[in-house]
């Protein structure tokens, strides 16, 4: 598949959610995430490069480089070609550097792993998963074709998407889905029914009459002025020596965790979140006066507002639990979190929240603020937001790959560079992986998390990336021996 007009004329403004990643990135949190597929053999880099070339041609969005305008950042088409490389940087190493026009993703391999790393302003977890699915699918097909002597030289490489023109166009530099669904329009464009219904329920209601759901926070400045009596606990720790993200992966049978969550009558994400809260509380020893733990949970908007675009299209929902106010056992906490999460992660609530955000973005006064100033404002808002968060959790759910990749790929997992302790869950092939990332060297909360699982009879295996000098020296000695 070839693109019709590979020119630099093609550009698109960065969407509402993506701008925050540019403003909020720091040395220890470059806003990069990775998705990984582990195959049943050592990865062949030549075949992987071939597969990447095929997949790259199908995703014009991934050709984009990031540029800076006076008022906004924008993505612009480029003629660059990506190359696979062995994994020689720590997880979620920075990708975007201002003034440098490089691709916003990289594909690396190590032993049996194929890893896609992406700067978050380009795409979200779902979009990245589409790309990785196509990449791994193409890789496995090319490899199997190579194994069969009498195989045809032309290998059919279907995609994770329907291959009609509409779907292909959606993979390009199209306007973002936020604008498509939530921007107020007055030219009588067709709005899908489900959005109309969601608007009826929430978005179009006058602001004053809007009932605020429990846990939903006031917009604007109100969110900076958090009531003092509910002090949110924030994890402190020793930063890793070179500011890299500390990553520890826990792998376990998905069915066992699912059974535990079902026994409490909650979904896996909220069960694991409750377990995370409990792990933080146990490893902290004493929460002091800050007895509220809170988590930010991204919600994929495509499940409510259909979109084929791999660009960012998610919103975050915040849930919290205060210790010492009633029952604090794992089951009760997870049920309480679930009760908060369900109404917030619903189409009407999200439509209302995003409607507000987009309205803010499209305010004439804010639009004419130059980009560097906008960045500072966003950074300040992000700082205010961070003050109310203990952890972040993200769950991509159960992934099924198209055959023949499905049977050749074992566990799949993902990492996110982190400003605070965080986990990313994902399941494939009956294995659930919970990857913890953190800017700190300490692993106390991961230890408590793993122990809670093993206490309940779950088999857990741990893989950790080495971050401290002592750990790396040990690896060097083991390698020499």
């Amino acid at each position: 598949m070839t693109r019709e007009t590979p020119t630099r004329d093609t550009w698109v403004r960065l969407d509402n959610a993506s701008n925050i990643f540019l403003a909020a990135r720091t040395e220890s949190d470059p806003k990069v995430f990775r998705v990984v597929a582990e195959t049943d053999h050592e990865v062949d880099p030549l075949i992987l490069q071939d597969a990447l070339d095929h997949t790259y041609d199908r995703y014009p969005l991934y050709h984009a480089v990031l540029r800076r305008g006076i008022f906004w950042y924008y993505l612009q088409d480029s003629d660059l070609r990506p190359a696979v490389s062995p994994e020689n940087q720590h997880t979620c190493a920075p990708i975007y550097q201002s003034d440098r026009r490089n691709l916003l993703f990289r594909v690396v391999y190590h032993r049996r792993r194929i890893t896609l790393e992406i700067f978050h302003a380009l795409s979200d977890g779902t979009g990245a998963l589409w790309f990785l699915t196509d990449l791994v699918g193409a890789y496995i097909r090319l490899r199997e074709a190579g194994e069969q002597q009498d195989a045809p030289t032309q290998v059919d490489l279907p995609s994770a998407h329907p291959t009609d023109d509409v779907a292909d166009a959606a993979l390009g530099l199209v306007p973002d889905s936020f604008a498509h669904y939530f921007r107020r329009r007055n030219r009588g464009e067709a709005i899908p029914d489900e959005v109309e219904a969601a608007r009826e329920l929430g978005a179009s209601r006058p602001e004053a009459a809007e009932p605020r759901l429990p846990g939903e926070r006031p917009a604007g400045l109100g969110r900076l002025l958090r009531p003092l009596e509910k002090r949110v606990y924030r994890v402190q720790g020793t930063r890793t020596p070179d500011n890299r993200t500390r990553a520890v992966e826990l792998t376990m049978p998905a069915s066992e965790v699912l059974a535990l969550a079902r026994a409490e009558g909650v979904a896996v994400t909220m069960y694991l979140t409750a377990m995370f809260f409990e792990a933080i509380r146990r490893s902290a020893g004493d929460l002091g006066t800050a007895r509220t733990l809170s988590a930010s949970v991204p919600v994929n908007l495509r499940q409510f507002f259909p979109s084929m675009s791999p660009r960012n299209f998610f919103a975050t929902v915040r849930v919290e639990h205060t210790y010492g106010e009633g029952t604090d056992d794992l089951g009760s906490i997870s049920r309480a979190l679930e009760a908060q999460f369900r109404p917030l992660a619903s189409a009407p609530s999200l439509a209302r929240k995003l409607g507000r955000l987009i309205k803010l973005e499209t305010m004439p006064l804010l639009r004419i603020i130059p980009r560097p100033l906008k960045d500072s404002i966003l950074r300040l808002m992000n700082w205010g937001n961070n003050r109310g968060l203990t952890v972040a959790v993200s769950n991509l759910g159960r992934v099924v790959l198209p055959e023949p990749a499905e049977s050749r790929v074992g566990r799949m997992l993902f990492h996110v560079s982190a400003a605070r302790p965080q986990f990313c869950a994902m399941s494939h092939g009956g294995l659930l992986t919970v990857s913890f990332t953190s800017p700190f060297s300490e692993t106390g909360h991961i230890r408590e998390f793993a122990r809670q699982l093993t206490e309940r009879g779950v088999d857990v295996s741990v893989a950790a990336a080495r971050v401290t000098e002592a750990e790396l020296t040990e690896a060097a000695l083991a390698g020499a021996a």
Partner: protein
Amino acid sequence: MARCEACNVEIEGSWAHCPLCGNVVTGSPAPSPLPAIPLSFSRRRILRALFLISLAIILASFAAQLFFSHEFANIGVARSIWLGLTALWLVVLTAARKRRNLAKSTVYLVILVSLICVYWDFLTGWHGWALTYTVPILCASAIVALLVTVRLMRIESGEHIVYSGLTVLLGLLPIGFVAFGWVTTPWPSIICGALSLVALVIIQVFGGRAVRRELGKRLHL
């Protein structure tokens, strides 16, 4: 696979101690799915600190000049050396920082050096040499340099067009100097202005579409 009895977990990779709790592990090591990446230290923080300190010293130097009014004839040579060194420092700093985009770097340098020269002229008692000679010559050479550079280096129009345009517009400013009677002789300004007009026509003819496209992109609201 190795095992930590305290945490009751299997451990991938060759860890002598459990990465979670630090207890000694049992069993034989398995290969790690994650590579051991040596520590790396970026120079970015120290470079940023040096940059900010430099900038502070440069600004302080320029400000300090105000305290030595031009009646102090005896500091004349010292002042020139001091201003020259500071200006050079600023030029090197700017050129290094903006090295990835030649056109952008040119605009920055034209503006900075012009401002320094005007200030210098003001400090030494307004003889008008900065506006009469330095600024027009600077602008004119920047325009010629850019026209040559983008051809020789085959820089794509989208990459430089906005900054080339800015340089050319800066080249029109000296015409204003003549109009306001700020100059002692009009010729450098007139030559610079004429050159800018020629460059403007060249850009309009050969890159008008690119300019409009690029401006549309950068000024998009």
